[in-house]
Symmetry: C2
Subunit: 340 residues, 2 copies
């Protein structure tokens, strides 16, 4: 290699590093935050002071997350709609539960992965945390359709569960709330660090040049104004904010009482189609285009859309290893499934 070329190359590498470094700063200024690399820092971030994480609680929560007997039919578990095998959701437009009932507002099941980073839970943000959220679908008649007393009865009828609850929640009665706390604890561990996090954590080569350009576009057009924080979303925003949403006629969801809707996380977005609260859109490019219109009032160019999509695909993260649980056996006292 000639000296000139070598110098040119060094300059190029240096320029790239400067670009990457300034992009990291820019991203952070835009409110984007990585999943911490440091385990203790991460643990602090995912912990709930009112529901301290312990290995026993997480293990109990994992079992309950996969526990079909928490549903009236004994066929549906949390994992049915928030399937850890398929991006943490069900990949169907509308949440479908007990007796094949569909969500009456045509709401789509959001992913459980990284849901710990949401400021609030549910599309209308009516739940403050995962512990509270988990108690909802168990009881909803279009989901698991279980009476909370029956859920408690199931758990109490199984000695292994009773023992685990006594250990994990000493001096607390088994209630739908402690069931929710155990499930919430497990869900808090479902975070999926990606190359994007490596990048924000300082590894300038973790994202390709194209992905970095996508991130730049993502910030410059304004996506990060809602899709920010560790979750790239998870807060409440008006929707639609600027222009009408073209699929608003699917279902009747209008957000909370102020028309605010929870911004979905963009982590693993390539794996969680169909998109939007009513699961109306399968194509990620179309979803980006629609967001530009409804939320930013901008008609994004095909180039911008493609660039943003390239970045979003880099948000697909590493899923935690989950050993499929062997659930403890029913007893004669366990309520029988009711398929009706």
């Amino acid at each position: 290699m000639g000296i000139k070329m070598s110098v040119a190359l060094s300059l190029l590498v240096a320029t790239n590093m400067v670009f990457a470094n300034s992009l990291i700063d820019e991203a952070k200024k835009a409110g984007l935050k990585p999943i911490p690399k440091d385990k203790e820092e991460l643990n602090k971030l995912i912990d709930n002071p009112k529901n301290k994480l312990t290995p026993e609680k997480i293990e109990l929560g994992k079992k309950l997350y996969f526990e079909p007997r928490l549903s009236k039919s004994a066929l549906i578990s949390c994992n049915t709609c928030h399937n850890l095998a398929t991006g943490g959701d069900d990949n169907v437009p509308v949440a479908t539960g007990h007796k094949w009932r569909q969500n009456p507002h045509h709401l789509n099941s959001p992913t459980v992965f990284n849901a710990v980073f949401n400021e609030k839970q549910f599309w209308d943000g009516r739940s403050p945390d995962l512990e509270d959220q988990a108690t909802g679908p168990i009881q909803a008649d279009v989901e698991m359709a279980m009476h909370k007393d029956m859920a408690v009865k199931v758990v109490e009828s199984i000695p292994e569960y009773k023992e685990a609850f006594n250990k994990v929640f000493p001096n607390e009665k088994i209630t739908i709330e402690t069931i929710g706390k155990a499930i919430g604890a497990f869900e808090r561990t479902l975070v999926t660090p990606s190359r994007y996090d490596d990048f924000l954590n300082g590894d300038e080569n973790a994202l390709t040049k194209e992905e970095q350009e996508g991130l730049k576009t993502f910030i410059s057009v304004g996506c990060a104004s809602c899709h920010s924080g560790v979750g790239l979303g998870g807060g409440m925003q008006p929707f639609p904010a600027v222009k009408p949403y073209k699929y608003a006629n699917i279902g009747d969801f209008k957000g909370d009482k102020n028309g605010m809707v929870k911004t979905p996380t963009l982590r693993n977005i390539a794996e969680t189609a169909p998109y939007f609260h009513n699961g109306a859109v399968w194509d990620l490019k179309e979803a980006i285009k629609i967001m530009g219109e409804t939320q930013l009032g901008k008609e994004l160019s095909d180039k911008e859309v493609a660039s943003i999509e390239t970045f979003l695909k880099a948000l697909t993260g590493k899923k935690p290893k989950v050993e499929y649980p062997i659930l403890p056996n029913s007893t004669k006292d366990t309520p029988k499934p009711d398929l009706d």
Copy 2:
């Protein structure tokens, strides 16, 4: 310890060992066989010469076993009705599938654990092996309701699957049959050795005295005439054989054209209630009593029933560790779920 007492104890231990040893012989004479301890011997036993097991094939089969996109709705997988978390079945009386449809003959989902030891598959034995069996529920409109061409289309639309199929089945087209072969390969690995196997493999202390007495009763009253082999069942037998089955009015299943019904495995029987082809009985003792009547024409005493139950509970085996799979992502060519 006095010399006399020591001698007495030695005699007692020796007697127990003789009892156990002769019981092992007796069990083997009655046609009972253990899951081999030797890994190579086991591999020979579970292998299918027409579908040789390889780690890659088993891994592909595992993914497909948990793959909801093999169903029309993209919500139901093999694991929905044959749940590895709950004894390898669904623990509901009647198999429930697409659109909450129930099996028209009110048939109960049998366990997938140790199904490799069945001589035939399905309650009427219409399928020769697991590879063939696996293709049935995918297509049955009351189960996964998927057209076989659509199942192939799903697999072919996902590059990771296409690549795995090419590797595992070189020079074969992807068909419903190769999908069945991959799933069958995984299912062949789902065997659950228990203390009963340790006992038959020569460890006289693996079963308690009470369990050994239960095994003796099990043999002496005649249970082992149908519940034999490695699976303690899995062959075809007339049912009911001697006296009418008191719950015959639930559903209309009458067995194959000769009235023959597959004898269910007794392995993990404590975990697979409700019992019988129509899932009519929840209580294991009641099931044993009914079997005595219908199949052996005997009214078993409460003591005999309790003793047999004690033995049967020792058939609960060690489940294989299964890491929950992360399934490859859909593409734009993947058929969309159809909830209707």
